[in-house]
């Protein structure tokens, strides 16, 4: 599975992480919708941590599409409230 962190490039992660990321994403969406900034920030940090722990950076010569695109690391809560809503990160 290929994950892009916006502004930081692409990473190759084991497919098993998809479920974990989707869970975190759903919780993050709920937190954003509820206006719970602290909880959102915590979940967002956890998502980035999954990428940092399991991900291997893709070489610049690899031209592939990402399966998941995460927003920029420094996303503000206000931006997140606009973007982290609706369906999960992984489209049906």
């Amino acid at each position: 599975m290929i994950v892009r962190v916006s502004g930081e490039g692409q990473f190759r992660l084991p497919d098993e992480d998809a479920e974990r990321l989707n869970e975190l994403d759903n919780a993050a969406v709920a937190a954003a919708e509820a206006g719970d900034e602290a909880r959102f920030k915590d979940l967002w940090a956890q998502m980035l941590e999954v990428v940092a722990a399991d991900g291997n950076s893709l070489g610049d010569d690899e031209l592939v599409e990402s399966d998941i695109i995460l927003p920029p690391r420094d996303i503000t809560f206000a931006e997140a409230q606009g973007e982290f809503t609706g369906e999960g990160l992984i489209p049906d």
């Binding site: 010569d61 031209l63 592939v64 599409e65 609706g86």
Partner: protein, 249 residues
């Protein structure tokens, strides 16, 4: 995919694949796609130049404010030495405010520097990817009858498209940030031109009078300089230094 990048890349990816679908001559379409990518790279360069321009403007403003701080400090001393404590206080209040603005400007300059660095890194990455695309394109063109090759180039185009979309997003964010800073810098400039920072110091009306008096002090002081020095010397000990401390509060 509700991610920030997801939405944008979807738009660009769709455009590229539509382009590929339409092609009667894939070779021609590939060249066109490559040309578009190179254009995008030019836009990125322009975006970086914009960030640099904004940064320079803020740096200039920062220098001006530094001068203002020195000037206000001098004016305060002058006012004090002439026994105008209220005036000295006003000057010192403004000096403090200018220093606060200065700190905020410095933070913004630092932020823009980070933005610039990020965009430059991303631009280098995109350039590499476009170069890869160009190479693959030539390979595909040489053997384009193979259906598998078509799929491959479509994938490659999507990969580059996503990279471009992501860079587009980074540029958009940098621009928004720069815009906010520009507006703020403009406001500071206006305040500076008017010589008033009254919104924060709440000095009330009579601003202009105080400014006029301050500037008169500066010009008139040259004439009175000798006299003031003499006075200070005459009243040394109980004169200049303690009065300055008082004014600093």
């Amino acid at each position: 995919m509700p991610g920030l990048g997801g939405r944008m890349s979807t738009v660009i990816k769709a455009k590229i694949s539509r382009l590929l679908d339409k092609s009667e001559d894939p070779g021609e379409t590939l060249d066109y796609g490559y040309q578009k990518q190179v254009e995008m790279l030019q836009n990125v360069k322009k975006g970086i130049a914009d960030v640099v321009t904004s940064k320079k403007r803020l740096q200039m403003q920062s220098q001006k404010l530094e001068q203002q701080v020195v000037k206000l400090d001098t004016q305060a001393r002058q006012a004090l030495s002439q026994g105008r404590e209220e005036l000295a206080r006003t000057a010192l209040e403004r000096k403090t405010l200018a220093q606060t603005e200065l700190q905020s400007l410095d933070t913004q300059v630092k932020e823009l520097e980070d933005q610039q660095q990020k965009l430059t890194d991303n631009e280098a990455k995109l350039r590499t990817k476009i170069e890869q695309f160009r190479t693959k394109k030539e390979v595909i063109k040489a053997q384009y009858s193979a259906a598998e090759a078509q799929v491959k180039i479509s994938e490659a185009a999507s990969g580059v498209g996503e990279e471009m979309a992501d860079l587009g997003l980074a540029m958009q964010r940098a621009e928004e940030k720069t815009e906010t800073m520009r507006a703020r810098a403009g406001a500071v400039e206006e305040l500076e031109a008017a010589g008033t920072f009254d919104d924060i110091t709440q000095l009330g009306s009579g601003q202009d009078d105080i400014d006029k008096q301050l500037s008169e002090l500066t010009s008139g002081a040259q004439v009175d300089d000798e006299l003031a020095k003499m006075k200070a010397e005459l009243g040394s000990g109980g004169g200049d230094a303690p009065a300055l401390e008082e004014g600093d509060k």
